[in-house]
Subunit: 267 residues, 2 copies
């Protein structure tokens, strides 16, 4: 039996540039699919293109409008292939052929990783191992919050925390070996910063997510299915949108990705 | 006489979706235009579309290949208009009609700003006013480095600094009232992080830049032509690419933008 994550990302080829997928109840959020599973779908559609060479390096996704339950089409375009990198765009669409509405729009860069002088400036916080941090009870009884185990280290939702900083161990449920697709999805698992600031629930929706990958497929495979440490800082809540700067660390303190989001909030 | 920045961004309409521009010697970098002027060109092409409503909220640009001196075409597409926001894509191309090569690819979101509960979490560093910080001599005698005055506060290029943190006042030369186009360009003016780590020059090139705007046109106009405080932290140098997380502050300590980059470096 395949993992629910992989079951949510099964595509039927329609043409060399187009695949058809279907939204997953297992990764449903309140009014549409969990943003991370949409990001993962666009990432996987690109990774499955036979022309794709190199590994994901940068990925940006803009969410245009809610995705309805049911079928969708993803169109991938290799805009340019250079000697050592490729530039891609992806669009997720729903609706009748000829009258399709674009609901998500992504750009990505794949590149060959080169073993050269490397150095991590960001500091991995000194936190207790995941096993010593009790899992938070899922905030809802169904949908994507059942698909991740969150072990908060710092920053509790729906509380007035001293700042918008959060640290949490996150793991797929059931555990699943890490790859670029699941790492992409986990980059959308950070607590919305406004939940760290307000006791009451505020409606929110991510409008843009950006990911830079700092590790290759080998490092992700070595990490396996262990929990990841996710650390984020809110930077500003301004006039209806807030952002955060997030980092995803392996269990052993390797930086795997840096990620940024802009999120709409209702007031 | 118009400012060299505006002279570099004069477009001739070709169709409702296409304009023709020309690279500027005043903003030339070593092997192509300064990345910030390319970003500004894509931003301005979108802002000038008559259908555009709202103000820039998010902007991401991937640099695909070097842009040659001479003419270019920018194609803008309004992918989706919602009630309070718009989703755009832009492509910069060169070459014969029908055989154009895409050299830069951007996505942007415009939105209505709403005056709601707002709060800035990021801390503006306590630095001396710009007037008390001596300008750095331009690193080169021509091109875009002549078009900005940099007053470093912390972090000197081609030195072994203790970390990849930098603080600098930046101002257009000659001074020019701030708007979304010039702020977009300034978001590419941060020192490449590797220059803060290595005494020797390392060839570099930005491959992706992301900007979230935290201020509206009114705040930018109020800032006027004063220097901006740019603050950035490198997060990782890994296998041939490094990133940074940057913030742009007004003279009075208002957060105007947060911005991220991924940069290729040669070893």
């Amino acid at each position: 039996m395949s993992h629910p994550f992989d079951a949510a990302l099964i595509f039927e080829p329609l043409s060399p540039q187009r695949v058809r997928g279907r939204t997953s109840e297992a990764y449903w959020n309140m009014v549409g699919p969990y943003g991370g599973i949409t990001a993962a779908a666009l990432m996987r559609a690109m990774l499955e293109r036979p022309e794709r060479t190199g590994e994901p390096l940068a990925f940006t996704l803009n969410y245009l409008a809610p995705i309805a339950a049911g079928e969708f089409v993803i169109e991938t375009e290799l805009v340019r292939a250079n000697r050592s990198n490729q530039h891609w765009t992806m669009r997720l669409m729903q609706g009748e052929t000829g009258a399709e509405r674009c609901l998500a729009l992504a750009m990505a860069i794949c590149a060959q990783r080169r073993e050269v002088w490397s150095h991590v400036d960001a500091k991995c916080p000194d936190v207790p191992p995941a096993d010593d941090c009790p899992p938070a009870p899922p905030r809802r009884a169904e949908g994507f919050l059942q698909r991740y185990q969150f072990r908060p280290v710092r920053g509790l939702p729906f509380a007035e925390n001293p700042d918008s900083h959060s640290e949490a161990w996150v793991q797929d449920v059931p555990p699943r070996p890490l790859d670029f697709t699941s790492l992409t999805a986990i980059c959308d698992s950070f607590l919305p910063r406004i939940f760290l600031r307000r006791k009451e629930f505020t409606p929110i929706g991510t409008v843009s997510m950006n990911i830079y990958f700092h590790a290759g497929a080998g490092e992700l495979a070595r990490h396996g299915d262990a929990p990841l440490l996710t650390v984020a800082d809110g930077q500003a809540f301004s006039d209806g949108h807030f952002d955060h700067n997030g980092l995803v660390w392996s269990r052993d303190g390797e930086l795997l990705a840096s990620t940024h989001q802009l999120v709409w909030y209702k007031e």
